[in-house]
Amino acid sequence: MSESSIISLQNVNKWFGDFHVLQDVNLEVKKKERIVVCGPSGSGKSTMIRCINRLEEHQEGKIVVDGIELTGNLKNIDSVRKEVGMVFQQFNLFPHLSVKENITLAPIWVKKMPKAEAEELAMKQLEIVKIPEQANKFPGQLSGGQQQRVAIARSLAMNPNIMLFDEPTSALDPEMIKEVLDVMVDLAEGGMTMIVVTHEMGFAKTVANRMVFMDEGRIVEEAPPDKFFNNPESDRTKLFLSQILNH
């Protein structure tokens, strides 16, 4: 692991039953780096980023996040989860809580923040994702794009050093994708370390420092976006790019 890496995956292997979903995955992410992961479905992209905050358990290899190694040790898992925010494809907002309560819940219960302070923080985060006026609504009353922005605000409220995005725009109607991507671009410009699983190649080109292409559980190609899109090395990458860029 190099000194400046904030996330380090070394020879990570994982199986779902007999299915070898991650095969010798190696990835180093530096502080403030923005990584975009792409690849066909079933290639292990989501599984890989879910291993980084231990929503999935890896069986072999080593994952170190901000100097903390992920093992069965629950304390380590808790510390890592405080460092790492995650945004899901299905938003996963808490439907029985208002937008504001969705955001204040973790600061109040995990960080023991006073309620008033947490609410102030929530409003600040909602300003950042540009929907402060929705604070007292319930998730079911919001559009998909608004829900996803609340989900981002909820993660940011824990003040993470790293943000993981697992296909954040895949469940959205086309006209709502931009509002979510705009928030993510702002976040990237603010210096957040980000790993984003997405098929939004326009976003990847503007934001990514590095592209990671995965197929069948392996990282097939890693390159800066410029080289990745214009001059990919592997045939598999070329085929994938031709399929997603030509339609």
Binding site: R81, F91, F94, H96, A106, W109, V110, P139, S155
Partner: protein, 379 residues
């Protein structure tokens, strides 16, 4: 404009509003429905008229047809002259005290009355979400069982009243409410335990639930009476009513666990993942995210099993506790009131219906409220 263009006058359309309209629409919409309606009216007439006659018009309440006050069965009209007499409700009036309090000492009965009144104060804020100052009343609900225990059993200067003297509605309510109240947290713990990732905990909870569910309540009651004392350290004896309470709570807890487990299974995996990813611990996640949603969707089933338990508490009469039904049978066993079993059983049934019907209406009200409330599906 020529006169041919004017519409011919028509008969008015058949009314579909108002009482007549409703009757026409719902009861006589076709010849088949009409026959059914007439048949049902005839049957109701055949059943209701004799019943109303027996229970109200020909019935004795406190005095018989000669105007004498009824003090035992021999004064009942229907005992004196079966041809003209209806129900003899005097048995309920004369023995009302026993039905409501059992053999609780008369000079101490004010304590039971206070408990009955406080019970309303404790339960109302629990059921009504918009209850004023609900938060503070709920603290009272939490400590109510302790207050009720000392009021009923004695202590702090109040004379001791043995549970052997408790009876009737008092025992039914103590068993029903305590059983439901204790079974709820027990059920939550068992449901979470059964879904635990730790095999030992999951196995213990599963075995416990399956064992208790696989055994009739009456067996558990016998178990509490006969076998529980064998497991207790020497010198410690458990009160008979407490033993029944333990059996009833375990029984209800197992059922509650399965109901709540059903609710837990309906919560999408994403809710767990989102809760974990923001750093909530296992207990915080369950308390704040998972259980509130799971319980909300299972309220109708929770009320359903609670109604079942409330009725099942009558089984304690087999192990010698005089609940409402037990007191009824005790009253009937007395020479002075023998043979008036119909009146007693009807009375007991009506009391049970009042409680269970209220519970079922409440559950319907909640269902309606949840349906019109915030959409629970996030997307």
């Amino acid at each position: 404009m020529s006169s041919e263009n004017f519409q011919q006058s028509r008969t008015p359309p058949i009314a579909t509003t108002g009482l007549l309209g409703w009757i026409r629409l719902n009861l006589f919409s076709s010849w088949f429905n009409s026959i059914l309606t007439i048949l049902v009216i005839y049957l109701l007439y055949q059943i209701l008229v004799p019943f109303l006659n027996w229970s109200i018009f020909a019935a004795d309440f406190t005095h018989n047809y000669l105007g004498q006050q009824i003090i035992d069965r021999t004064f009942c009209t229907r005992v004196m002259d079966p041809e003209i007499g209806g129900a003899c409700w005097a048995i309920i009036f004369v023995r009302f005290y026993q039905f409501i309090y059992g053999f609780y000492p008369v000079e101490e009965v004010w304590r039971v009355n206070i408990v009955y009144s406080l019970l309303v104060v404790a339960v109302a804020p629990l059921l009504i979400e918009k209850f004023p100052l609900r938060k503070y009343f709920l603290y009272f609900t939490l400590i109510f069982p302790i207050i009720a225990y000392f009021l009923l059993a004695g202590g702090f200067g109040l004379a001791h009243v043995s549970t052997k003297d408790w009876g009737g509605l008092l025992v039914t309510l103590v068993l029903g409410f305590t059983g439901i109240a204790l079974a709820f947290p027990l059920g939550i713990v068992l449901a979470l335990g059964r879904r635990s990732n730790l095999p030992v905990i999951s196995m213990v909870c599963t075995l416990f639930i399956e064992f208790i569910r696989g055994v009739p309540l009456i067996t558990l009651l016998f178990f509490g009476m006969v076998m529980l004392p064998l497991f207790l350290p020497e010198g410690i004896t458990l009160d008979g009513l407490v033993r029944c309470l333990i059996a009833v709570t375990l029984f209800q807890g197992a059922y509650m666990a399965e109901v709540i487990r059903g609710g837990l299974q309906a919560i999408p995996q994403g809710q767990y993942e989102a809760a974990q990813s923001v750093g909530l611990s296992y207990w915080q996640m369950n308390r704040k995210i998972i259980l509130p949603q799971a319980i909300r969707i299972t309220i109708p089933s929770i009320v359903n099993t609670s109604i079942g338990l409330f009725k099942d508490t009558t089984l304690v009469l087999i192990v010698g506790q005089l609940d409402l039904l037990g007191i009824g049978r005790a009253v009937l066993a007395a020479q002075t009131w023998m043979g008036l079993s119909i009146e007693v059983y009807v009375f007991v049934a009506v009391v049970f219906i009042i409680f269970t019907f209220s519970m079922s209406r409440y559950s319907l009200y909640l269902e309606k409220k949840l349906k019109t409330g915030i959409n629970m599906g996030a997307d």
